[in-house]
Amino acid sequence: MSTPSTVDASPQAQVPLPPVDELPRRGRSRPRSRTWRRALRRDWQLYSLVILPLVFFLIFRYLPMLGNVIAFRRFQPGGSVFGEYWVGLRYVRMFLADPTFWQVFTNTLILGTLTLVVVFPLPIVLALLLNEVRARRMKRFVQSVSYLPHFLSIVIVAAMVMQILSVDGTVNSIIRALGGDAIPFLQQPGWFRTIYVSSEVWQTVGWGTILYLAALTTIDEDLYEAARIDGANRWRQTWHVTLPGIRPTMITLLILNIGTFMAVGFEKILLLYNPLTYPTADVISTYLYRMGVVSSNFSYAAAIGLFEALIGLTLVLSANLIARRTVGTSLW
């Protein structure tokens, strides 16, 4: 940025410019502010368009970031958004000594890991399978059907899960037909993780194939040709041509998934869990929701939330760094 600004400010560069840019030479302003003034004068209409969006970002995105200071301050409902006075790390020490916090922390890690391990690879598999379908219409039909759950409200998905898994639901009627006893799935902590991950698979896998299918169409046909001449069968072509071809997409999506690792399906868990399943279902985000919004311990909940957000940011930054160092693909 410094190079063009010095060039613009030099008298030689000003000669060919239209008169609009001949600003009054008030004082000895530095080149940087000179060019800013010129930019504002020339493009003020463009800048005026960003005012409202910027106000949005400042109030509803950046102000809450600053609002996190209440994690270190005494906060009174109805008082200042930024709290009353400093209390240091009191709330941080409090949650670190809270056994429930460690329980929900562990649950978050387990659910996050399960989601990553089970849900992340499946769209790749489905995309590869779809890629082998020769009948165009069949392929398009399967795609259309598998995208559908993505468009449903999470409330609808939760309601469907409850219907299918209820004591009179389909899963239990199969169990009864096989001679078993009905299981109240949603009341048993042992089933929660399975239910969560399966519903996640149902809802997201189809839509997740889109980017992979797009990447698959860009693989050069000549590579398959060459592989065939070298005697590679279908499986080896997939392994040596197709998979490396979609690797950048895989890595980008993996980094993005790692970024949301800590925020595992907050809304879905909030809809599906109940006090009976807290031992496996309660995660950091649901715990801080109950602590903050339900029980009004805002500072305590904000401290936990800040901790969660910082871990999330660290995870995505390190995943990005590792990806860039090792395979040369990264988000930025």
Binding site: L49, V50, L54, L63, V133, M160, A214
Partner: protein
Amino acid sequence: MVTVDASRKLFQPTRRRPRRPDDTRGYRIFRAVNGIILTGVVIITLYPFANIVARSLSDEGYIRSGQVNIIPRGFNLDTYRLVMSDSMFWTNYRNTIVYTVTATVISIVLTTCYAYVLSKKDLKGRSALVGIAVFTMFFSGGLIPNYVLITSLGLKNSIWAIVLPNAINVFNLLVMKAFFESLPTELEEAAAVDGLNTYGILWRIVIPLSKAIIATMVLFYAVSFWNSWFTAFLYMDRSELFPVTVYLRNLIAGATTATSTGSSSDSLAQAAANIQAVTIILTVLPIIMVYPFIQRYFVSGIMLGAVKG
């Protein structure tokens, strides 16, 4: 090294040549298995819908005894009549429509303005403006500070608590920016020579050229606002302000507490089963009806975002 080259050629046109399948016996078996797997995927995806439709049309006695799977038993439309005669359902349904329309209009205006400015490559301060938006994708204030802010701004129980905090989705913003960047600049330059100012160029030249992307964005925003429930759940205390998703949520949440308290209230929870099914169907119906038409817009929008993002 061949493989690396393949990955670098992302999104470059390739010569499409019919790929000769290697018709070995193993591959034929694979294709048969593949067909079975994909059929399974279709069935598993569609089954819950079929189940809900069957339940919505069934007699509650058959549902309670676990006899309703994909074929309705004790066919009747009484449950539909019952749910549709609930005035709160319609109040909340109307709220959903009002919230969705208002929020979508505001979102589109803000996103278009910001994206258009971001697409001006030689604008001073452009990279800072991009950075301000993109940073919020990776770090957010979190639930509690947001809640405190909205509450202290006095937005509780108002439509603005739903509309304003989610006015710009950064992903949508980047998709739109990518589209504007792909427009030819000559038209705008010609319009500027003809004396149109920036607002005129945006309104008379750029927006008419961007109908497709604006339609896509309208769909993106409208579907996400139609489906959202948590913001309303968080900031609305009075049931006449709820959107229909919160109405449904309260219905299913009531059912879980009833079943979890034991067998005595079991019948109450089960009586709600067909009511739940009907409410699900009525809520999801608009989405299902437009789905065949909107699907390809979503796909193309995602692609555009992926190329740039």
